[in-house]
């Protein structure tokens, strides 16, 4: 009951901010249109499928969820610095209530965002199959990584710093090292190795494999993403719990 109440409050806080709505739901669509236009202007003889809708759709679905780190981080940080969390820490709410209460709204947001981005991709030429539903669920699962980052940085930093790290740094790292904007396979070398070590590239590959119906390839990529997610969440829970018990994080 407390989790649902708190989750409802959190989703209201986020959706009542028009900037969040723009970045959460609108920005991936703008990118979809822009990159589709770029793709259309690439001559066929260049034989460059990078921005083809089959590659673009999973990339943008993943990239859109990177903003969940910003939303979560800003919310936690503002709740902390405004003492709203102090009020709630003095209530019977447990750390489990808090973590789930912050996480559930982001999963709902990710679900909606992935559905909008992938359905819009169908208008842009992506084949509409049953795999799309599964891809939405996989995107939601991979978005947990960003929710974990948001919980961690929101528990540690003030909202300005969260804006810088989750809004600017993390979204850029996730964008560039996932292969959404640049052809990682073509560049190769250390850049590709770095991308393969980090989870963002694997998030895109898991979503892409799902859309392609290439089910055996989903799990190996997903395991890497979930491994990172578990580590980030454990760190976030430790830091949040320390905050809750009044210890310096």
């Amino acid at each position: 009951m407390r989790i649902i109440l708190f989750a409802k409050r959190n989703i209201k806080e986020i959706l009542r901010d028009p900037i969040n709505l723009f970045f959460g739901l609108g920005f991936p669509l703008i990118l979809l249109v822009l990159l589709s236009v770029i793709n259309a202007s690439i001559p066929p003889e260049a034989n460059n499928p990078m921005f083809s809708i089959e590659n673009l759709a999973p990339g943008l679905a993943m990239f859109g969820t990177a903003f969940m780190a910003l939303f979560t981080g800003m919310l936690v940080s503002k709740d902390r610095t405004s003492s709203f969390l102090m009020r709630l820490f003095a209530s019977p709410m447990t750390s489990f209530d808090f973590i789930l209460g912050y996480t559930l709204p982001m999963l709902v947001m990710s679900l909606a965002q992935a559905a909008i981005t992938l359905l819009a991709s169908c208008i842009a030429g992506l084949e509409l199959t049953g795999n799309l539903l599964l891809a939405i669920l996989v995107t939601m699962l991979t978005s947990l990584l960003f929710v974990g980052f948001g919980l961690l940085f929101g528990s540690l930093l003030n909202d300005k710093a969260v804006g810088g790290i989750c809004g600017a740094l993390l979204t850029n790292v996730a964008g560039w090292l996932s292969g959404v904007f640049i052809p990682i396979d073509l560049i190769g070398g250390a850049f590709k190795k770095a991308a393969e070590i980090l989870p963002f590239y694997h998030s895109v590959q898991a979503i892409k494999a799902t859309l392609d119906g290439n089910f055996v390839e989903i799990l190996p990529h997903l395991i890497i993403v979930l491994g990172y997610t578990i580590v980030i969440f454990i760190l976030a829970i430790i830091v949040f719990h320390r905050r809750m018990s009044g210890d310096k994080a």
Partner: protein
């Protein structure tokens, strides 16, 4: 009967002692004011009593439950209005109140009834659907205290509740706090001595983390050989009159 019994309560941060061996009892229904200059240890004491931080040593028992051993049981009986207004900025007045009521376990019907009661008691009807961030400072303070009271706490902590309010808004809040006297045990911290004189039954003066004196206004002035609370406070806080 005692609402709060504090025994040898201390809080240390590294080599710094924020609260040093505090011993105090507060009776049920009493309005107890905790005074002290900045850094005296008032807020740290309130945070330990409301289970927001763990004591380094000692204990406090609130209505039979220890903050060390049964913090969850303590949390069911208390509520706090922090120094900052601590409201959910994008939620309306009604939503803030209903959220708090729900968090303290009230069902939807009770939460709605209690919300109406708080709206009426704190004069929030005219702004009931306004987002908290759109309220004036005074209205935010009222909402903050209403959120602290909606759970029907047996012990209420008010940490500088009138900070930054104009004279009229402060007087209105005093009236609201006075209406609670005898029903709820209130621990109040403030820098406004006229507030203490108007509201409190007893006063504790903290200096350097220690409880320098406890008593009524008359007892404190008599103890220090002064004529008014402000002079007594200055003497007990280590200043010169």
């Amino acid at each position: 009967m005692n609402a709060i019994t504090i025994t040898n309560l201390s809080k240390k941060y590294g080599g710094f002692t924020a609260v040093d061996n505090l011993n105090l009892t507060i009776e049920q229904g009493e309005l107890f004011a905790l005074l002290g200059i900045n850094g005296a240890g008032k807020t740290t004491t309130i945070k330990m009593l409301s289970c927001l931080i763990k004591p380094t040593s000692g204990n406090a028992v609130l209505l039979g439950d220890s903050v060390r051993e049964h913090p969850q049981a303590v949390k069911e009986k208390i509520n706090i209005s922090p120094q900052e207004t601590a409201v959910a900025a994008n939620l309306s007045v009604i939503e803030n109140l209903e959220l708090t009521a729900g968090i303290y376990g009230q069902d939807i019907k009770t939460a709605k009834e209690m919300t109406e009661e708080m709206v009426s008691q704190f004069g929030l009807d005219g702004v009931r659907n306004k987002k908290a961030k759109q309220l004036s400072g005074g209205m935010q303070r009222r909402l903050s205290i209403a959120m602290a009271l909606i759970s029907n706490p047996q012990v209420l902590f008010l940490d500088e509740p009138t900070l930054g309010l104009d004279v009229l808004a402060r007087r209105e809040l005093w009236a609201s706090i006075q209406a609670l006297k005898g029903k709820v045990t209130i621990v109040l911290t403030t820098h406004y001595l006229e507030e203490v004189e108007a509201l409190s039954d007893r006063i504790g003066i903290m200096a350097n983390g220690k409880l320098a004196a406890v008593g009524t206004v008359a007892e404190l002035t008599e103890q220090t050989g002064t004529n008014k609370l402000e002079d007594a406070f200055v003497v007990l806080s280590g200043g010169a009159v």
